[in-house]
């Protein structure tokens, strides 16, 4: 198991190098930033001077080395618009996004497990059909529309919850609710079908033959096996949070990374876009690493193949 984690960590490092290179190259492809700084009176000497200041006079490989060196120091450059270090801006936005993202992820995954298992064990009952209906709604309705509708119903019409912004726990209800509503269905359907497959297997029959109570049969013997397939998807769903957050953070005026990246994109604030892209890539990598470790933890066969 230890060796497996070390190997996966090394793979993550390789992927990180690749990502940093890609982001570096993509940013350079967008053109020469000094072109945007020119005014009719700018002299060539001034341009050379600016290039020197920004380190753009050096060769591209050299620039990459500096970029990586700065990364290690936690320096992502400075926002062109706000004239503030990108790390500070992300530092302010990230905790807000993490609170929203992790709460929604936890809520939706727990609900997906619970509803998926219950639907599978009570197949074709009212509950199962209800779950299927909910899944169709969640997968078909666009996230932003559900968010606006939720604000209209719960905040504007009934005055139950705040419309937007951060503050007390009440501010979490609508954003977490809509984000979860949007993350839940895929996972729930996957848990349900995976659980149905497993419940049909011989080892579940054997567990019942042993005289185990149904509770143990389902939550110990079946669930652990049924989790293997959905777990891979959980990593992908986490990436959905990020894209989902860009939309929902804007609808709910939530000061997180999603809103930051949208604002930066609209204003062509390249250093911020770069910084956020790198951050998102690192987060997805870390989650995938975690998923792989969990995968090996759940399924001994993977654990033994890898070492």
């Amino acid at each position: 198991m230890g060796r497996f984690i070390v190997i996966r960590l090394l793979q993550t490092v390789v992927a990180l190098i690749g990502i940093s290179l890609l982001i570096f190259v993509l940013a350079r492809l967008s053109g020469d930033p000094t072109m945007l700084m020119r005014t009719p009176t700018t002299t060539e000497a001034e341009i050379v001077n600016i290039k020197q200041q920004l380190g753009l006079d050096k060769s591209q490989p050299e620039q990459y080395v500096i970029f990586v060196k700065n990364l290690f120091r936690g320096d992502l450059g400075e926002s062109i618009i706000k004239r503030r270090p990108v790390t500070d801006m992300i530092g302010e936005a990230l905790p807000n996004s993490l609170r929203l993202g992790i709460t929604s992820f936890a809520v939706s995954m727990l609900l997906a497990l619970l509803l998926g298992v219950l639907a599978a064990t009570r197949r074709d009952t009212f509950l199962d059909n209800g779950v299927k209906f909910l899944a169709v709604l969640g997968q078909a309705l666009p996230g932003f529309w559900v968010a606006i509708l939720a604000i209209f119903v719960f905040s504007v019409y009934w005055h139950l919850l705040p419309t937007s912004g951060t503050g007390g726990p009440a501010h979490y209800v609508l954003p977490v609710g809509t984000l979860s509503f949007f993350l839940l269905p895929g996972m729930m359907r996957l848990v349900r079908s995976s659980m149905l497959d497993v419940l049909d297997s011989e080892y579940i029959k054997l567990a019942r033959i042993k005289g185990l109570p149904e509770r143990v049969v389902i939550w110990k013997h079946a669930l652990r096996n049924a989790l293997i397939a959905p777990l891979t998807t959980a990593g992908i769903i986490f990436a959905n949070i990020i894209t989902g957050a860009v939309i929902l953070e804007n609808v709910f005026n939530w000061p997180g990374v999603g809103r930051l990246s949208w604002e930066a994109l609209v204003a062509r604030d390249f250093p911020v876009v770069q910084g956020v892209t790198l951050l998102v890539a690192v987060l997805v990598l870390l989650v995938n690493l975690l998923v792989d470790i969990l995968y090996a933890y759940i399924d001994p066969q993977i654990r033994y193949q890898q070492t």
Binding site: L206, I209, K210, Q301, Y304
Partner: protein, 322 residues
């Protein structure tokens, strides 16, 4: 004669399907003594597995239901037990071995865990005593180096070894009755012979009664003391194994025995029974075997034959005998 441990009387099990009510087990009666192996033989779909599952009350729900009869285990009618009481009987008083060892163990738990789970559930023991019981169960099934294999996962074992582990799970709580549903069908021929020898040994040591479900007369000859031949939901003939092979009285039994390939005969053609077993939703009015029977008479078409005891623990349901 040893004591009768299991007595099944007039068992009726039905399945409610879209095509109608299927009488999968239609009035089956038999008994098994302590230390005895009773074989249930028959073609696929004749109801032998459903009989086994009925004894454990583990029919697929909600389609399957036991609608009549008695299943008396050591003086207690299992059909009168509450769900909870029945669960306590499972694994401790009655156990079952399933057909395919490759799929009947949970892939994510060690075999030690899977055996210990039964032991812990049914016996009030401390952890080190549990481990001792687990090791003794593995030893009973002659699994080499049990202390080490304890920590293995099913995928690290061969099919034959896995089936022994399934046997160890079944025997771990010293059951009085073991139902073995084609436990050797998925094994190689050589491993099959080993497994049968192993189970005869286990039975000698524990005096467990075994209901052995199979379609293989070769296995019956090696393993069983008495046999019931099942056809379309009914037991058509019951006899000691020796008697059944020597003097089968039901035409279906004779036909089945004749269809076992033999090396000591010159003719190269394999014998097979004409026709198909009847559809379980549309059974013939008279004897169920009548459409395929080579010696059928008019009465066979009209009326179902009753069971006739012809002495020496031999009974037959056939008009030719009564």
């Amino acid at each position: 004669m040893s004591k009768i441990i299991l007595q099944v009387e007039g068992l009726h099990t039905v399945f409610f399907t879209r095509q109608g009510v299927v009488k999968a087990v239609d009035g089956v009666s038999f008994y098994v003594r302590e230390g005895e192996t009773f074989g249930i033989v028959g073609e696929s779909g004749c109801g032998k597995t459903v009989t086994g599952l009925s004894i454990l009350r583990l029919l697929p729900e909600p389609a399957g239901r036991i609608v009549g009869g008695k299943i008396i285990l050591d003086g207690k009618n299992l059909l009168e037990l509450s769900k909870k009481e029945m669960r306590e009987y499972r694994g401790s008083m009655i156990s079952m071995i399933l057909q395919d060892p490759m799929t009947s163990l949970n892939p994510v738990y060690t075999i030690g865990d899977q055996i210990a789970e039964s032991v812990r559930l049914h016996q009030n023991l401390k952890d080190d005593a549990v481990e001792k019981e687990v090791i003794s169960a593995l030893r009973l099934l002659k699994i080499p180096a049990p202390e080490m294999r304890l920590h293995d996962y099913p995928f690290q074992m061969s099919g034959g070894m896995r089936q022994r582990v399934v046997g160890a799970i079944a025997m771990s709580c010293h059951p009085r009755l073991l139902i073995a549903d084609e436990p050797t069908t998925a094994l190689d021929a050589t491993i099959q012979a080993q497994y049968i020898a192993l189970f005869k040994d286990v039975q000698r040591q524990t005096n467990v009664a075994i209901v052995f479900i199979t379609h293989d007369f070769g296995v019956v000859a090696q393993m069983c003391h008495r046999v019931g031949v099942m056809y379309a939901g009914k037991i058509v003939e019951t006899a000691t194994t020796r008697e059944l092979f020597k003097a089968p009285r039901h035409p279906y039994t004779s036909a089945l025995i004749n269809s076992v390939p033999r090396l000591d005969r010159k003719d190269n053609r394999l014998y097979s029974i004409e026709g198909q077993p009847p559809s379980m939703t549309d059974l013939p009015r008279g004897c169920r075997f009548f459409p395929r029977c080579s010696v059928a008479r008019d009465v066979c078409r009209e009326q179902e034959p009753g069971e006739v005891d012809i002495g020496g623990e031999h009974s037959v349901s056939c008009w030719r005998v009564s």
